[in-house]
Point group: C2
Chain length 171, copies 2
């Protein structure tokens, strides 16, 4: 007799959360692919961040998820964090070319998803690496799920900005 595995409510919750993550990644990937290098050099609004800075910022934040979630080391140099997280835009840093940043964006999200797919519901509720076991006992909401949601909304925040670089949009 064949057995059919019905997903549990817990499996379904993980599925919904990962779908939301991958949908946000795909939206940014598609948007960035539709923008030219010169579009990405522009500011999202007068005096605000450039598209390339935001793209680099997203890459650096996602790369930092690898150690934060206990998946291993960053893929890229910590310099990305220096340029795109610790420094504001227009601080005089030389940015990697757009083509490199697009490659990084694709690579880091592929690696993250491979790790995500190995975690079950209970594993998502375990602590992330920026909280000690002692603190986690007192603040159990500081778990991997929290990080996943926070970085999903972070992508969405910057997606709402990058979309302004499109020449014709109602967003």
């Amino acid at each position: 007799m064949e057995t059919v595995n019905h997903p549990t409510a817990e499996d379904m919750a993980v599925k919904v959360l990962l779908k939301s993550w991958t949908a946000q990644v795909a939206r940014i990937t598609d948007l960035v692919a539709s923008l030219s290098d010169s579009d990405l050099q522009k500011e999202i609004a007068p005096g605000k961040n450039t598209g390339i800075y935001i793209l680099g910022h997203l890459v650096a934040v996602h790369d930092a998820l690898l150690p934060l979630l206990g998946f291993g080391s960053r893929l890229y140099s910590q310099e990305l964090e220096q340029i795109f997280v610790k420094s504001p835009d227009k601080a005089g840093h030389t940015f990697p070319p757009v083509s490199e940043l697009k490659k990084y964006w694709s690579e880091v999200n592929d690696v993250l998803l491979q790790h995500y797919n190995k975690l079950d519901f209970e594993a998502w509720l375990t602590r992330h690496e920026a909280v000690s076991p002692e603190d986690f006992a007192k603040e159990p909401h500081r778990n991997k799920l929290n990080v996943l949601i926070s970085r999903t909304t972070h992508m969405s925040y910057h997606h709402g900005q990058l979309v302004l670089l499109k020449s014709k949009t109602q967003d």
Copy 2:
């Protein structure tokens, strides 16, 4: 003997998701409170949506969550949806005053949160009202949790835009 209720992993997941929702609501509430009426009349970037349109859009989308999640009727007239969801900005509609929209934003989120707080993990995994029981049997990811996450990222998307109305920001 005193009994201590340890939250289950399921309770913790719901807590983390609701914290993310309420944090996004609070960020937008605080940001909007910090902007003057004339700031909100401005476009987020040249030729793009105005702040007041985005605020009205968020109110209308959140009001529509009441029937969508089976919590009851909308609080406000369906005209908000006509103006702020079905029509683009600058379509010639007269908008409610900013003070009214701020009041609506506060009210609708208060009512939503009261309903959210009554749902346990399993209830979040049940279908929303825009999917039939038959379709839900085939597509069980079309649940209330999915709607919650999708509207959380939706807020974040527009938060990234509204922040551009601040005169001095690094976002």
